[in-house]
Amino acid sequence: MTSTSTGKPGTASRRRVSYSHAKPRRSTGLTIVTALFVIYALAPLVWLFINATKTQHDYVSTFGFAFGNSFALFDNIAQTFAYRDGIFVRWFFNTLLYVVVGAGGATLLAVLGGYGLAKYRFPGRRGVIAVVMGAIAVPSTALTVPLFLMFSRIGIVNTPWAVIIPSLITPFGFYLMWVFSQEAVPDELIEAARVDGSSELGTFFRISLPLLAPGIVTVALFAIVATWNNYFLPLIMLTSEGWKPLTTGLNDIKLQTYSAAGGTEPLQNVILTGSLLTIIPLVIAFLFLQRYWQSGLAAGSVKE
């Protein structure tokens, strides 16, 4: 790996013989170009933080990327929590409920299902694969209106179930676990456990589950982000303020400020602080668990 130049010195300088995984020279030009995209990605988030520290007056009178005359972040947080008798806190716990039960359940079902698909040959297996893989391409929003009508017939619209039940299915997570299980759990290991008299579920929990852990974290992360960020589903399913998650709740505060009539209450500071509080838990989870994102995306992209 040390000597990469095999040609004459003259040609080597013009057409540098290099390949990416050797020891490439750092390029300042390329670094600058990509730095522009770092700025593009981070600028709105920096702006959000700066403006969550401003009073309503500073927000309308100072430049967006400069701090205001007073540092009002904590006042804004207090105001956000006090908004309409603490509805924001309620929304936060609703989101938490939907994430724990919805995304947690989605992960459990996807892990069990993907594992079963990878490690067993059972009647109807091909049918399951065809139907679920077909479902990846069906826009889930296309099913939400009929689902709403079904749920309203059985009377669970406007309850947490209306958001939790549809969140339980993630065809993409199911697919990831299928791909992941094939490689992470050797058939011989399962066979050996069977010879020792272990039941199928016993084998799964004692032998396979630990081996599947990295895949499980990845699927859970995708499910958590999807549930935490879900907007369309709760928008349709929930009308009562008390059950809303943060996303549709934030949009309600926005509608107080910007309505068709032109806006009644100037609540930008509450909207921005609420937005900031909404993304902080996800950003933290994201930064600490980022290697799992990578492995999940890798598993998704290798297999077609």
């Binding site: 990469t4 095999t6 057409r15 013989v17 390949y19 995984h21 050797a22 490439p24 390029s27 390329l30 990509t34 995209f37 770092v38 593009y40 709105p44 988030l45 702006w47 309308v60 967006g64 079902l109 299902g113 594992y115 079963g116 698909l117 067993y120 040959r121 059972f122 009647p123 297996r125 399951v128 391409a137 069906v138 826009p139 296309a142 099913l143 209106v145 009929p146 079904m150 039940i165 299915i169 065809p171 960020n229 907007y231 943060l246 996303t247 949009n251 930008q268 909207i271 937005s275 909404t278 993304i279 996800l282 989870a285 994201f286 994102w293 995306l297 890798a298 992209s301 290798v302 077609e304």
Partner: protein
């Protein structure tokens, strides 16, 4: 256990044990995917009957809703909108993502891991928050856009009728550049080092390597990214929905097909018509995704 001897003579006994694992997923899948799909098809063949503003139940109309839909200019306006978006925003986004993935993979960046995390970070931000932030930034009274206009003496309004698609395109691009970059980067990392060594021995330069090794390596994940982008674009809803009130009346009730379906079901109280729209868009998406996949398999994408 008396069956053991019989099983020994069967080359392939029926092994139902897999259903212990696949069963729970399949059951919920049927409830939230299959049943609503069938219900939507059923629903789309009816029409609410109104007399003097009072609902008189539903009437079977077979495919009349579909005929009405295909003659509905509001529907086509939305379809044209998202198709244009698909043809312009998606290629721009994917080309940028591909460029960034190649830059990351070249090993020539300083601070590569910081770069990777930063560009991917927007993916974790809810579409609602992303749209609110950008909506405020776009503001021509108090937003950063107002400052830019002041400085340049322009009067650009990203939420005006001429630019609103650009404004939304920017938000979607911001959200997904990093996600797609990581998909491409992941497949670049699966290329074995020996391939690069062989290329170097053959005297291939950086560009030759990109063309002959790296771009073909991205191909599979490019298909996935294109298909996911098509699905996402055809169901565009959150960003325009959040921006609607901030943009005056520029974003109409039929801005995208999904927007129109939402409006039909909940404001116009015509769930049957809404269901027929959802089915047509669902079919359309599946067909386009399938065609892209076939085209990709034949080597249409390099």
């Amino acid at each position: 256990m008396s069956t053991i001897t019989i099983q020994a003579f069967r080359p392939q006994r029926r092994d139902w044990r897999g259903w212990i694992f696949v069963g729970p997923f399949s059951l919920v899948f049927v409830i939230v995917f299959i049943v609503p799909l069938l219900y939507a098809i059923y629903l789309s063949c009816f029409q609410p009957m109104m007399a003097f503003g009072v609902s008189q139940g539903e009437q079977f109309v077979a495919f009349a809703n579909y005929a009405k839909l295909f003659a509905d200019p509001n529907f086509w306006s939305g379809v044209i909108g998202v198709t244009g978006f698909l043809l312009i925003q998606v290629p721009i986004m994917l080309l940028i993502s591909m460029f960034l993935a190649l830059a990351l993979d070249s090993g020539r960046l300083r601070g590569a891991s910081f770069f990777r995390v930063s560009v991917f970070l927007p993916y974790a931000i809810p579409a609602v928050v992303a749209s609110l932030m950008w909506g405020f930034l776009y503001g021509t009274r108090y937003g950063v856009m107002a400052s830019v206009n002041n400085m340049l003496g322009t009067s650009i309004d990203p939420l005006s009728s001429g630019l609103v698609w650009v404004g939304i395109g920017n938000i979607v691009t911001w959200e997904f550049i990093g996600y797609n970059m990581l998909i491409f980067y992941s497949s670049l990392k699966t290329v074995s080092a020996s391939l690069y060594e062989a290329a170097a021995i053959d005297g291939a330069g950086e560009w030759d390597t990109i063309r002959a090794i790296k771009l073909p390596a991205i191909r599979g994940s490019m298909m996935i990214a294109v298909i996911f982008s098509i699905i996402g674009t055809f169901q565009l809803f959150n960003e325009p929905n959040v921006l609607q009130a901030m943009s005056g009346n520029v974003i109409t009730t039929y801005f995208t097909p999904n927007f129109y379906a939402f409006h039909l079901a909940f404001s116009a109280h015509n769930p049957s018509y809404s269901a027929s729209l959802a089915i047509v868009m669902g079919l359309f998406t599946v067909v386009v995704a399938y065609v892209v996949q076939l085209w990709g398999a034949k080597g249409g994408v390099k």
